[in-house]
């Protein structure tokens, strides 16, 4: 049995199973309950978990004491567990899940020093998983925030540009079907914004002729558009 753990509690602990139950006993009831609720939230407390947790804890205690083989087994088992849990929770590409698993394994590796034997392994790992998951989601959001609006913008812009071009062409075609005495006043007054007097002067018509031209022209156009849409 690891000397460090024995020294830690100052008692003689023969095996890991006894250690776990011993730890459970020494935990205050409130802390124990709270840790369990965290466990249920994150790593899903089915009956398999307690057995798996016991195995993992045993492997981890051995690896903390320098057993590289145990450490490798621990990481492999942990990766397996994470894969099943994360697949259920995230509907994403496998490559993404593997990325996340590697992130978590690296975090576990780096944070190994902060594992305390009196904290259940599940609570320790859940906290790390939650942190890394939040990080992952946040960076995914940031990535999508970086790209999506740009895509949308350029699409919307292209569409509106296209729309105006199309409208312009339609208008030109429709206007071309009008007689010049109606088309001229409409172009001057409605498209370029001249006044009746200016239009009359520019076209050499009387003001009332301009007004009549616009009126009749618009009426014809309206009739044509209506006819077209039917």
């Amino acid at each position: 049995m690891p000397a460090a753990l024995t020294a830690y509690r100052g008692r003689d602990v023969r095996n890991v199973d006894r250690l776990t139950s011993f730890v459970a006993m020494t935990l205050p009831p409130r802390a124990g309950r709270e840790i369990q609720t965290t466990a249920t939230k994150s790593l899903d407390a089915n009956s398999m978990m307690s057995e798996a947790e016991r195995q993992l804890t045993a492997l981890l205690t051995r690896s903390i004491n320098g057993d590289r083989h145990a450490y490798r087994m621990f990481l492999e088992k942990l990766a397996c567990h994470l894969r099943t849990r994360l697949r259920k929770r995230l509907r994403q590409q496998d490559a993404d899940i593997e990325d996340l698993i590697q992130e978590i394994l690296l975090a576990v590796h780096k944070g190994l020093d902060t594992f305390r034997p009196e904290v259940p392994l599940t609570a320790w790992i859940s906290a790390i998983v939650r942190y890394k998951l939040a990080d992952h989601v946040r960076s995914a959001v940031r990535r999508s925030a970086l790209f999506e609006p740009l895509d949308e913008d350029s699409e919307a812009e292209a569409e509106s540009h296209f729309d105006t071009l199309e409208a312009q062409r339609d208008l030109q075609q429709l206007l071309a079907t009008l007689p010049p005495r109606q088309r001229g006043p409409i172009e001057y007054m409605k498209l370029w914004g001249l006044s009746v007097a200016e239009t009359a002067a520019a076209m050499g018509l009387s003001e009332s002729a301009v007004k009549v031209g616009v009126h009749r022209g618009l009426k014809t156009l309206a009739a044509k558009i209506r006819g077209k849409s039917k």
Binding site: A4, Y8, A31, E34, I35, T38, I64, G66, R68, H69, Y71, R72, L75, E76, A79, E98, I101, Q102, L105, L106, A107, H109, K110, G111, L112, D113, T114, F115, R116, V119, P120, T122, A123, W124, I125, S126, A127, I128, R130, Y131, D135
Partner: protein
């Protein structure tokens, strides 16, 4: 690299497992913080009275107790937040208790004082720069402690950042306390706590970025 290869790399790589990593790193950070704050204190201009004359007054020790207990309890909270899955629990109470006591005493002192003396009790002589000096003394502490936390594993970065900032503020005011001429409780209840709250706020804002691991 696939996960299998990654695991083999991790398992074979050099690993510094140490039971005392938390105590070591935080202790080192705290030592750096206090040393830097004391050095800054020597550089800053004082009011001329010596520490010896102040140390003979009982109020001085009561005043010292505020940042001292805050430093101890903030260290406890911070170290708990630096380890995944460890609950802070009762350490929160230890952090709030000194503040509560100081506020209670301050209110009693103010209630008993004559109405025209109350302003002086709160403002003292040095209210203009007391909080600012505490903040200044906590700047190196904040850097050192955020660095220390970065090497540990805080999984609630915002909260951990705020706790780290509070610890920096508490150590800064612990140092400033040695120089502070004010001896009235309402004064510390206001300006010391403002001086500690500012680094806590900064720590909370910086936490998620500065302590990413």
């Amino acid at each position: 690299m696939n996960t299998q290869e990654f695991i083999v790399t991790l398992a074979n790589g050099p690993r510094p497992p140490s039971r005392s990593a938390v105590a070591g790193r935080l202790g080192f950070g705290l030592a750096v913080s206090l040393t830097a704050a004391l050095l800054l204190l020597v550089i800053l201009p004082g009011d001329g009275t010596s520490l010896i004359t102040r140390a003979t007054m009982p109020v001085f020790w009561a005043k010292l107790a505020l940042p001292l207990t805050m430093t101890l309890s903030a260290t406890c909270v911070t170290s708990r937040l630096s380890q995944p899955g460890v609950r802070v629990g009762r350490a929160w109470a230890a952090l709030i208790l000194p503040v509560g006591i100081v506020w209670l005493v301050a209110l009693i002192v103010l209630a008993l004082a004559a109405p025209e003396a109350r302003g002086d009790l709160i403002l003292g002589q040095t209210w203009r720069y007391c909080s600012l000096k505490i903040m200044l003394l906590s700047v190196p502490a904040l850097g050192a402690l955020l660095w220390a936390m970065r090497g540990l594993a805080p999984t609630r970065p915002r909260l951990a950042g705020a706790a780290t900032g509070l610890l920096a503020g508490a150590s800064g005011s612990l140092a400033y306390c040695l120089r502070c001429p004010e001896m009235h409780v309402p004064f510390w209840a206001t300006w010391y706590l403002i001086g500690m709250a500012a680094p806590a706020l900064v720590g909370g804002l910086l936490g998620p970025r500065a302590m990413r691991w």
